[in-house]
Amino acid sequence: MKLSFASTVVLMLAVAALLAFGPLVLPPFYVRVGQLMLYSAGLAVAWAILGGFAGYASFGHAAFIGVGAFAAGLVENRASGLSAPLLLLLGVTVGGLCCAVLSAAIAYPILRLRGTFFAIAMLGVSHVCAEITNNVDFFEGSLGLNFPSVTPSGLEPATFFYWLYLVGGLAVLLIAWQIRRSRFGAGLLSIREDEDTARMLGVPTERYKRLAFVISAVLTGMLGVIYGHSLGYITTDSVYRDDTNLSLIVYSMLGGMGTLFGPIIGAFSLVFITQVLLGRLLDFHLFATGLLLVILVLAAPGGVLGIARTVSLRRHKVTTAPAE
């Protein structure tokens, strides 16, 4: 299924416009579920710029959510007298900048690791950031941090943040899509397929993967700022969450690793399953998530899009291997 440039843009915007009507027709509970779906989808795509395209699966992206949210909150609380939109803009900028600095600083040592080593080292980064936020008084991580309200008057906060997540998610998707289409994106794919060969053939792998890491971190951090605002009050535990760290991998695996829309499909379906279908079984939550993971790995390692591709290949009787 190959779409032209224009029709892809139109299709994305049309779906986004359709989704924008969500809060006007859905009951409040589903608006919240929708918020979570859009937020997760945005994170999933931001994660996939590094994890899906370049194959560097991070197990610690919650670090950037936390750093972004705390940086924004600390700055916004000191910048009194700004109007709400400016305050949000300031927060998102500062959050993104802090994530850029952090990711650029750790990129060199961390990206020397590959595969599972990289994944676990990122888990370490997320734990260390959480611990520092929690123990250094300046960051107010253990006490908690209040965010100033940025919701325009006359709007439900839930509706406002739903739209904010929609805009944020769409922006992340467009960036990821442009990266995928570019020479840079092709370079990232070649890193995933065979990094040593790619380097030998002249792909600047070091620079590409560092850039992908920073972009992914910044986008994640900016979404984290919005997340902090939508919670209104955050502590260390509410943003540096290990289940976020895990979910980001699962979204891509569920939807299809390395694809553009796979992470979105994965995020939507996983949030639906855990929030709506299992919403009342809190005691079983860990168990059900674990079971889902096990089934996923054993039955559909290529994810939903992997299955779809296999089916369509069979139907068209294509004998060549899919050029992933």
């Binding site: 699966a57 040592p109 690791l113 005691d283």
Partner: protein, 291 residues
């Protein structure tokens, strides 16, 4: 002076236990190239089994060792045969997610069975201690350390001298060549996993004696095992011992001189530093699988 000696001694005791808790992880990693994220859960299963049996039979927790190790060996064998084998030799992410899923399920089951509260095993000699020069040793900690060292030596001897050990080492070095020589690789994988699970269970008993534990601790023990393996080098009991002792000493020194809430920060900084200067671990080839 006596403070630093005491801190070092405590660190070494703790390090011996870290080493025991990590050696199974290291073995699986070296032989199967699987990162077993359910390793911490296996450790905790050992601790809970020891708690139950020592209370039911009114015996010293260290005496439950053979039973716990046997149960976990069988469980590990079955676990590998039924689940992990399906993801071996595929992308490393698959086996990681699979073991993580199993860890979540088992953690949930443990919370149902044992409640999420902290538990600990208290042997009869829990409050005895003796002095050696200026340094005080708790009897519990010393018995835990001795048990760790004995078990690590047993594993080293098993790998070095027994027929099973030879087959395991052969499989780790060259899976294909081992298969050509008539080694049933799947069986060896499962046996390795069983041995690893048995040692994780033994570590659980030792940990249960000296530290309180709860189902949520599993991530901590998995993470520790990973750091120990990276520090020491993969696949050998000696590497695990070095890595474990180093981690233990660094942890207690940080807690004593920097602040009680920073051991993880230094642990991670140490990890990054080591990756920069010696990416293969102090002994062996921690990153041969990653490059």
């Amino acid at each position: 002076m006596s403070l630093i000696a005491q801190t070092l001694a405590d660190g070494l005791v703790l390090g011996g236990i870290y080493a025991l808790a990590a050696v199974g992880f290291s073995l699986i990693f070296g032989v199967l190239h699987v990162i077993n994220l359910s390793h911490g859960i296996l450790v905790l299963i050992g601790a809970y089994l020891a708690l139950i049996t020592s209370q039911a039979l009114h015996i010293d927790p260290l005496l439950t060792l053979p039973l716990v190790m046997a149960v976990l060996f069988l469980a590990g064998y079955g676990y590998q045969r039924l689940l992990i084998q399906r993801t071996v030799d595929r992308s490393p992410l698959g086996s990681m997610l699979l073991t993580f899923g199993v860890a979540l399920m088992l953690q949930n089951i443990m919370i149902w069975l044992f409640s999420p509260d902290m538990k600990n095993i208290t042997p009869t000699y829990a409050f005895a201690s003796f002095k050696l020069g200026p340094v005080t040793f708790d009897a519990v900690r010393v018995s835990a350390l001795v048990a760790s060292l004995v078990l690590l030596s047993c594993l080293a001897a098993l790998l070095k001298f027994s027929a099973l050990g030879r087959v395991i080492r052969a499989t780790a070095q060259q899976t294909l060549a081992a298969r050509l020589c008539g080694v049933n690789v799947r069986h060896v994988y499962a046996l390795t996993f069983g041995v690893s699970a048995a040692f994780a269970g033994a570590a659980g008993i030792v940990i249960g004696i000296i530290l309180p534990f709860s189902p949520a601790d599993e991530a901590l023990w998995t993470m520790n095992a990973f750091v120990v393996v990276v520090l020491g080098g993969v696949g050998s009991p000696a590497g695990a011992l070095i890595g474990g002792l180093l981690l233990g000493v660094v942890n207690t020194l940080t807690a004593q001189y920097v602040g009680p809430s920073f051991p993880n920060v230094t642990m991670f900084l140490l990890l990054v530093l080591l990756l920069l200067v010696r990416p293969t671990g102090l002994l062996g080839h921690a990153f041969s699988a990653s490059r």
